[in-house]
């Protein structure tokens, strides 16, 4: 059985993700940001005051991963957490002014990474690439969901 890395989607995706992460990190480090905060920030920039649970529902990330990320973000002055008025278990996440101010430069950095990465592709190829990824992601998420449901029925 042969395994050719150049023809393995998983291998290439992993490699590509590391290349993107390195690029993004280089560009947002001067802003005092790290890559892991990015997904959470993108959601919060659209509207903060969410609970951790609400954030998780918008990010395909495990709860402990987000909890850790939020802890680092609080330590670094990007967010503050206030107890929910109604539900004493929940904490609502609020952006600091500092985090709000970083929105424009951070997004500019990310968009620049994207455009440089895809610079060798035509407009059509870029669209194709994004569309293919969206379809693969949707399929894999569905598969994962089905597996969870199967386990619940069986177990």
């Amino acid at each position: 059985m042969e395994f050719i890395t150049d023809q393995s989607a998983g291998y290439l995706v992993n490699h590509l993700a590391r290349l993107f992460a390195r690029q993004l990190q280089d560009r947002i480090k001067p802003l005092g940001l790290t890559t892991g905060t990015f997904p959470a920030l993108l959601v919060l920039w659209e509207g903060d005051g969410l609970t951790q649970r609400e954030l998780i529902d918008r990010l395909d990330i495990e709860q402990p991963t987000l909890a850790n990320t939020l802890a680092r973000m609080e330590r670094d002055g990007l967010v503050i957490r206030k107890k929910d008025a109604v539900d004493a278990r929940a904490q609502r996440i609020w952006l600091t002014d500092q985090a709000r101010a970083l929105r424009a430069p951070a997004i500019a950095a990310a968009m620049q990474v994207n455009s440089e990465a895809l610079a060798g592709l035509t407009e059509a190829e870029r669209d194709q690439f994004l569309a293919l990824m969206r379809r693969i992601i949707a399929g894999m998420q569905k598969d994962a969901l089905d597996e969870v449901e199967d386990r619940q029925e069986t177990g």
Copy 2:
């Protein structure tokens, strides 16, 4: 400035990489393997007795990352490290019988993950997807190399 995650290559690649990693981990955990060992194993299965340096040259991974991975692999009985006869600094990496025996099932697992992930695509779309990734990777590696060279000239 807008940022739409569905149209961000970096965001989608990161997400996709996590989905692939979860799938692969589920499948190779029963074999006693973890995802991080995979790239090194793929090289070593083609021929072991390499030094760490030679492995790094075949993997776009930083040296400390590989050193850690090899330490875990040695701990788990996948490889042994023997001092090089000529160069006392270098250590040559040898697969154990156990690691050799895992080749077929591990590769089968990875190929299954790939084919399930791409199941919703036509043959042509799969080829396109892989080809696009290869081109983007090549471009980003070239960019990264150029930056290093620029820094050396300047600094």
